[in-house]
Subunit: 241 residues, 2 copies
């Protein structure tokens, strides 16, 4: 489904279509960069590769720059084109989405910084199994939320929203294991804290993927499902609202 095509009504201006397409393309490019940052941060951590971790940390600026550029584009489209209905919702969804993508970038950079500390301290810390599992889960949420945005696919967005509860459970169980490691061996406190910050960052990234999925639903259906219990939300509920 293409928001600029017949399913959402024809625009008088070809140039306007082009600008809306460009917004979406740029958002997805930013999403691609952020996904790569997350993937590299996790790989650097699991492989103890401080060079990759340093690159992730330094690349955060590129993510920030993309946010400013896209937000500025959105402001200009709003001012010049004064979009309405689904076009307005697209612009608003993009503005909100850049903020969550920027924060996913930020959290990835925190993961990278903690990976660097772990390598520097030369410890092979506990909790890496938990990090690996949680990161796979969270990465697939980010990927699905971006695909849902690209395809205006509310079913996939709902799938992301349903995942979040299980990510939270996984996070809590991982934190409990880490607390046990700490209590067993006080020398593990510093590296285990690093791993805890990493788990917390992954959990936050899951929340941001959740937000992205909510914007897709807002964009396509015109309903704001933030702060509703999306756990049991079914496709037909979106049309009833």
């Amino acid at each position: 489904m293409d928001i600029t095509s017949d399913s959402h009504g024809k625009h008088i201006s070809e140039q306007f279509n082009h600008e809306l397409d460009a917004l979406k393309t740029h958002l997805l490019a930013m999403g691609g960069l952020v996904e790569k940052q997350l993937q590299d941060a996790v790989t650097a951590l699991l492989e103890g590769d401080s060079e990759t971790a340093t690159r992730v940390r330094d690349n955060d600026k590129a993510v920030n720059d993309m946010q400013l550029k896209i937000d500025d584009e959105c402001t200009r489209v709003l001012a010049r084109r004064q979009p309405a209905a689904s076009d307005l919702r697209l612009v608003l969804a993009v503005i909100r989405a850049t903020s969550d993508l920027e924060r996913i970038g930020d959290e990835s950079s925190k993961i990278a910084r903690n990976a660097i500390s772990l390598v520097e301290n030369g410890q092979s810390p506990r909790g890496m199994v938990e990090v690996r599992h949680l990161s796979q889960h969270v990465r697939s949420m980010v990927r699905d939320s971006l695909t849902a945005f690209a395809r205006f696919d509310t079913d996939l967005a709902l799938k992301v929203l349903r995942e979040d509860a299980s990510v939270d459970l996984e996070y809590q169980s991982a934190m409990r294991s880490l607390m046990t490691f700490m209590m067993e061996d006080a020398r593990q406190i510093t590296p285990v804290l690093n791993v805890m910050w990493i788990l917390r960052a992954l959990e936050r990234i899951g929340d941001h993927a959740d937000n992205l999925a909510e914007y897709v639903i807002f964009l396509v259906k015109g309903v704001d499902v933030r702060h509703t219990d999306t756990h049991d939300l079914k496709p037909q509920d979106l049309d009833k609202k």
Copy 2:
């Protein structure tokens, strides 16, 4: 300075003026609620008052509801009034600000939940001096950023941005002390972790106050200072940009 008065140009429609004023009033009301939530969460924590902490936790829904209501108002103003220039910037700043206020509410509710755990475990934990200092600092940033929004005061917004660096230093030093407490006494690990989550929440609240200050500058000056080094930013820099 009032954005709807002569300094920003006269509007044709009195109703439109009224709608923009209402957006600002509602945002500041949400800010007031969030400030109260933060204050109550910290008081509950410092006084070990689990009743107040429970009320803060339960009030988070009211904050979320305000966000949805104000965002919906913003969408309607954009669709019907198609604002430009400073009016458009006001609406965009309000949309961004509700998201940060909602997160401050969220973090306050996390502080309240950790306060409840601490009371339940009956421990008088270490680190309360650090929490008290950091919370005073962060609360004044939140208050100043809201006052800056109310008065369109970029000087006050710049003051908030300059504060953030010292909050970060204070946070890092507090975390180091807590890590020492943990290492000294393994029985302190659980309560000290609770206090660490509280410090982290306070530090995040400082970041959100920072964001609010940046929106004030965007709103008044039309420049986006996010991701710029705002530490040494001076009033005249905003006009040069």
